[in-house]
Amino acid sequence: MKNISFKIDGRNCTAEKGQNLIEAAKQNGIFIPTLCHFKHLNPLGSCRVCTVKQNGKTLAGCTINVDEGIDIEVNTPELLDTRKAILEMMFVEGNHFCPSCEKSGDCEMQNLGYETGIRYTRFPHLFVDRIVDARPERIVVNQNRCIKCKRCIEEIFTNDGYRVFNFTNRGNKTVVSVDYEQEAKLSEKQAEHAMHICPTGSILVKGKTFSKPFGDRQFDNSNSDKNISLHDIKKHKSTNKKKKRIATTSLAGCFGCHMSLLDIDLGILDIIELVEFNKSPLTDIKKFTKRCDIGLIEGGCCNTDNIEVLREFRKNCDILVSVGECAIWGGLPALRNTISLEDCLKEAYLNSITSEEGETVIPHHEDIPKILNKVYSNHEVVKIDYHIPGCPPNANHIWNVVKNILFDEEYSISYPDFKYD
């Protein structure tokens, strides 16, 4: 094959004529993210995460074959944002609960989320109820996580050439369905192959999901994870006489983020030299006594009290930060968002095994908060200035962010500090 030269973002590149752009870019040291493109498979052009520009026109990069003199734009601010938006669409369309996902750390989509720096999604989460299909012999298909990339459909065949997966339905109801009969013919190795090519945790092989422990997985970057250091705090002591004030609260969360807050060990001694806590479970101050510089919110809003507290925080704090997955988009409490409130409460209080018919009621009293129809993310209720993802975020990371916000320092968050789980 003939070698040709072409340009990416003005940089000269060479590749074989007709080579796929994604591969060609990679060889030239340029990364174009993609979730559906897969080695020998024909370009599928389904995920659109590889969107690039050629002659001012947006195109899926995986559908371009390089040719002499073509000029491709990849990393312009606009394209970076567009690709990020498509990933965000995937996050809101499915129900991606990283903290409870078996594939976390091994998930290409999660990794791209880190790579592109998604802290929260600009789109509202859709919370569509989807099934987890455990009927197949070897695998479990979790529709909550499927992004319809089509890889498994095009790649997984039985030895006698039958498809195991296929799309069914259409439009927003499109799902990847399994042919149970054919799936049963897959060897253990073939099934594991299906799991590995799935860019999310949608296809899992029964009994094989935890074969590699969390922390050692391909996208974990585990070494650096432990090494997030608490940035130097002491230097601020002399320059800042007045202590900054912080308020914290846990709404629909588990207090895990607060635990993490305290997880800086002796660092806390340095921090209280710089800041004082106002309203916070840490101080047990119930009401704001002074205006605060920063409010740290753990958890989302699941009841009317959460909304009130959050609004109060907005009123009394200059800067609000959502800390952790639940605060950012609902997190684990939002597992209920795909089910109607009626079903949830009836199941919990009226139809549970321990409740006797006619003997139990759904709790309600003017003094107890009302349960909302779904768990809301904080930025759906008030304006939130910053988001710190993680479940929980690393203690040092939280304080680094807080410190940098308080003292107005530029701070770019490197990949290993980023976590959704």
Partner: protein, 572 residues
């Protein structure tokens, strides 16, 4: 069995059993040597195929915006009441009720298909009568309505192209004395462009196919007219099926193709007998078959393929996939169908109107056409006009006609919002009525929906976005997820808790969908919405709270606690 017969076979099962039973799926899978899920994948893509038993009478009620404004919800309620069935459910032996997107009867809405027979201008009273008659076992053929659309307007005699006298085979006389090259030159000279809405030069397309070294070539007539508000192809097939067929034969002669396929949407099932009869007439007269007109080795045949309910199959590569017996997912933009089309062969796909016009060009000569229209748009155009007008129907207009004139001709009352070329087209407001329908100004695929100032624009846009969400093929992220996300915003808009920021979001997000979608469906789905936000700014400003970038977010506490309050009320 060949895979390309799959849709036809599925129709047989659907018609014989009212659904496609598991045994049939097994049988088809074995015949085709594919897994059953592949067959199910095809069945579930098309909404006229069912996997569960349906009743003796299947009602498909149109839920397009025109229908909505003309009494859809009352008619729907009436169907449910009279049949004692629920829409979308499979339970009763006699009736099954489903919604469907536009069925090409926008001039006679609300309309429904019952076992694919048309019932138009429905009212609750009329529904009651129809259901009674069906229950009494009356012949459905006898009680069905005439679906013909009225031809409301055509230009003066010497400017009418389509709806003039038609004599079967007239255009084909030229074949004998002209070489394919000469005919192509005539088509090229007349500047014929694809009338499906893309306006790609027809002669270029035919030339690509002609020059292709493909072993076999196909001419496909795209009669999958699914764009809501469009019914002009239906009118052509109904009134001038021969003209369309002649156009296909001419295309075959020019390109060297020997097989033609008319891919017609199932919504027009009632036209098929008549089209088949016309095709037979052509065979009888030696205008189809072998050595047509005695021209040696000029062989051309035409068959009909019925779609099964999927708007996206109107996109040419999706249509080809569908013809091949697959899910109608548009192909990636890599090859023209003239390079790699149906079954991998060079294929010409053209709209019904394009073929009809090609036949007229050959019959009347290019000068006739070139004298009509504007500089860029030559000849006349068929428009389907519907909405708040006294005279809905088919209009043959000369390119360059103003919107004002259309409003006058169709006797529209207080027009305010006009949708050009259907939901994927564009909208105009009442300051733009001087604009002209032509390439230089407002290009139009064939549908004009006129809404008066009492109609809710949000309702129009909600209907459009819902349509795209349901009709998306589902394969690419921005279209599949994007339409759901935009719909979420519309719901917020309706609840009255939107701010200026939400409208900016819609514009930005719509643009992302436009840039990144795989085919035209996602590309154009938010087009009208984004336009409407600017063109009807004062309307939208009344629906939102205006604020700068730093404003308070509105949170609808009332609706957030509504479910809980209701539940407590009902369980105490």
């Amino acid at each position: 069995m060949e895979r390309k017969r799959l849709l036809t076979r599925l129709w047989q099962f659907q018609n014989d059993f009212g659904y496609i039973p598991q045994v049939a799926i097994k049988e088809l899978a074995e015949e085709l040597r594919v897994s059953k899920i592949e067959i199910e994948g095809v069945i579930s893509f098309y909404h006229f195929f069912h996997l569960k038993p349906t009743g003796k009478y299947i009602v498909y009620l149109n839920n397009s915006i025109i229908s909505e404004f003309k009494g859809y919800s009352e008619v729907k309620a009436s169907f449910e009441k009279e049949t004692n069935c629920t829409f979308g459910e499979y339970q009763k032996p006699l009736f099954s009720l489903f919604e469907t997107s536009c069925i090409g009867l926008s001039d006679q809405e609300p309309a429904a298909l019952i076992n694919f027979y048309p019932f138009t201008n429905l009212t609750p009273l009329k529904v009651k009568k129809i259901i009674e008659q069906l229950k009494n076992g009356e012949n459905i053929v006898k009680i069905a309505d005439n679906p013909s659309s009225k031809i409301q307007f055509k230009p003066e005699e010497d400017k009418t192209i389509f709806f003039r006298n038609y004599k079967l085979g007239e255009s084909l006389k030229s074949l004998k004395n002209n070489t394919p090259d000469q005919l192509l030159k005539i088509i090229s000279k007349s500047k014929l462009e694809g009338r499906g809405g893309a306006f790609f030069p027809t002669s270029t397309k035919w030339k690509y196919c002609k020059e292709s070294s493909s072993l076999k070539k196909y001419i496909i007539c795209n009669a999958d007219e699914g764009e809501p508000g469009t019914f002009k192809d239906k009118a052509l097939l109904n009134n001038l099926p021969g003209l369309v067929i002649e156009g296909m034969i001419i295309a075959g002669y020019i390109t060297g193709a020997t097989e033609g396929i008319i891919y017609i949407r199932a919504e027009y099932m009632y036209l098929i007998n008549m089209i088949e009869n016309t095709i037979s007439k052509f065979y009888e007269k030696g205008l189809l078959g072998n050595d047509i007109y005695g021209i040696q080795d000029f062989n051309f045949s035409i068959e009909i393929q019925i779609g099964a309910g999927a708007y996206v199959c109107g996109a040419e590569t999706a249509l080809i996939e569908s013809l091949e017996g697959k899910r109608g997912e548009p192909r990636i933009r890599k090859h023209f169908p003239t390079e790699y089309g149906y079954l991998g062969f060079s294929t010409v796909v053209n709209n019904v109107e394009t073929f009809a016009l090609a036949a007229r060009i050959i019959e009347l000569g290019p000068e006739f056409i070139l004298n009509i229209g504007t500089k860029e748009s030559k000849g006349t155009k068929l428009l389907s006009i519907s909405g708040d007008v006294a005279k809905p129907g088919i209009y043959e207009i000369e390119w360059g006609i103003t919107i004002k004139k259309i409003i006058e001709l169709s006797q529209a009352t207080s027009p305010n919002y006009i949708q050009i070329s259907g939901p994927s087209g564009e909208c105009i407001n009442n300051t733009e009525f001087n604009r002209k329908i032509c390439k230089e100004d407002l290009s139009c695929g064939g549908s004009i929906m006129i809404f008066n100032r009492y109609r809710s624009i949000v309702q129009i846009l909600e209907n459009f976005i819902t349509f795209f969400m349901v009709e998306s093929c589902g394969i690419c992220t921005p279209c599949r997820a994007g339409n759901q996300i935009i719909l979420d915003k519309i719901k917020k808009l309706k609840r009255g808790i939107c701010t200026t920021k939400d409208l900016t979001d819609i514009k930005n997000w719509g643009k992302i969908m436009q840039q990144t979608s795989r085919c035209g469906l996602g590309t154009f789905s938010t087009n009208s919405f984004r336009m409407a936000l600017d063109k009807f700014e004062s309307y939208f400003n009344l629906k939102i709270s205006k604020c700068d970038a730093d404003c308070e977010i509105e949170f609808d506490m009332e609706s957030a606690v509504f479910d809980y309050d209701q539940l407590i009320k009902t369980t105490q």
